[in-house]
């Protein structure tokens, strides 16, 4: 038999809270992104568990869309982080040029 729905929901709630903790305390951009992933993962557990308990397909469909959206979001996040990195690198390069000249 499958464990009861409540167990899955409580596990998901715990994961969501862990993600929230990371979101609030981490300062590194990638670490924040990882924390948000933990939160998004909790959502998927909720959806699939509900889908199983309700015998309803919509929860699984919802999960697949949620996964796709999260992947798109990560791509954007990394693009912006890389951009920020290069901006700062540009600044360093500018300084180096000026000091030389």
């Amino acid at each position: 038999m499958t464990p009861p729905l409540t167990w899955f929901l409580l596990l998901s709630a715990a994961l969501f809270s862990v993600g929230t903790y990371g979101l609030l305390t981490r300062r590194n951009a990638i670490a924040i992104l990882l924390s948000i992933e933990i939160m998004a993962n909790a959502v998927n557990i909720n959806l699939v568990a509900f889908s199983r308990c309700l015998g309803d397909l919509a929860g699984q469909v919802f999960t697949l869309f949620a996964i796709s959206l999260t992947v798109a979001e990560v791509v954007i996040g990394l693009a912006i982080v890389v951009l920020l990195y290069r901006d700062r690198d540009d600044v360093r390069a500018d300084l180096a040029d000026r000091m030389r000249g």
């Binding site: 409540t6 990371g22 609030l24 889908s51 308990c53 397909l57 699984q60 990560v74 951009l83």
Partner: protein, 166 residues
């Protein structure tokens, strides 16, 4: 049997997630995330959502972890980005997290029994039904999503390429 498996997987999942947010070494955090996402896939198998489990492994564990590792390699030196007002310390962050968990757990425990369990889906036909749903009832969100993915792809490429001289 399944209950025992659930307890083990849940413990691994929780421990891995805590390691992700608490770890100091970024690369390790990413690898712990891989563990967390993979153990989530095991949970999905337990829930008879085999297709979702496969997607979880392919897209999340495969795609996102690779992306994240690239991200770590490219940007190891960036620090000091703050999200919250004055980026909460560990104590405040911990208090908020405990508060969130308490609220959610109250909502879940106090609502036991309001959700009426139904006959579960037939695991044999779930994947086929999913495929059909994507091409019928959920065709519109599918199309909207494809537009979003196009926009994200174009946008990410244009950001990653060299900038105009400004």
């Amino acid at each position: 049997m399944n209950v025992a498996l659930f307890v083990v997987v849940a413990a691994v999942l929780l421990a891995a997630s805590i390691s992700v947010v608490a770890g100091r070494e970024l690369v390790r955090s990413v690898l712990w995330l891989a563990v967390a996402l993979a153990s989530t896939a095991v949970l999905f198998v337990l829930l008879h959502a085999e297709f979702i489990a496969a997607v979880q492994i392919l897209l999340y564990t495969g795609g996102i972890i690779t992306l994240m590792l690239f991200g770590v390699m490219l940007t190891a030196r960036i620090t000091g980005v703050r999200i919250a007002v004055g980026s909460a310390g560990r104590v405040r962050g911990g208090l908020v997290a405990v508060g969130v968990f308490a609220t959610l757990a109250w909502g879940i425990l106090a609502s036991q029994g309001t959700i009426v369990a139904h006959e579960p889906l037939d695991p044999e036909s779930t994947t086929r039904l999913l495929g059909a749903a994507f091409l019928t009832d959920y065709l519109l969100p599918m199309e909207v999503l494809s537009l979003l993915l196009l926009a994200v792809m174009v946008g990410a490429i244009v950001l990653a390429r060299r900038r105009d001289p400004s």
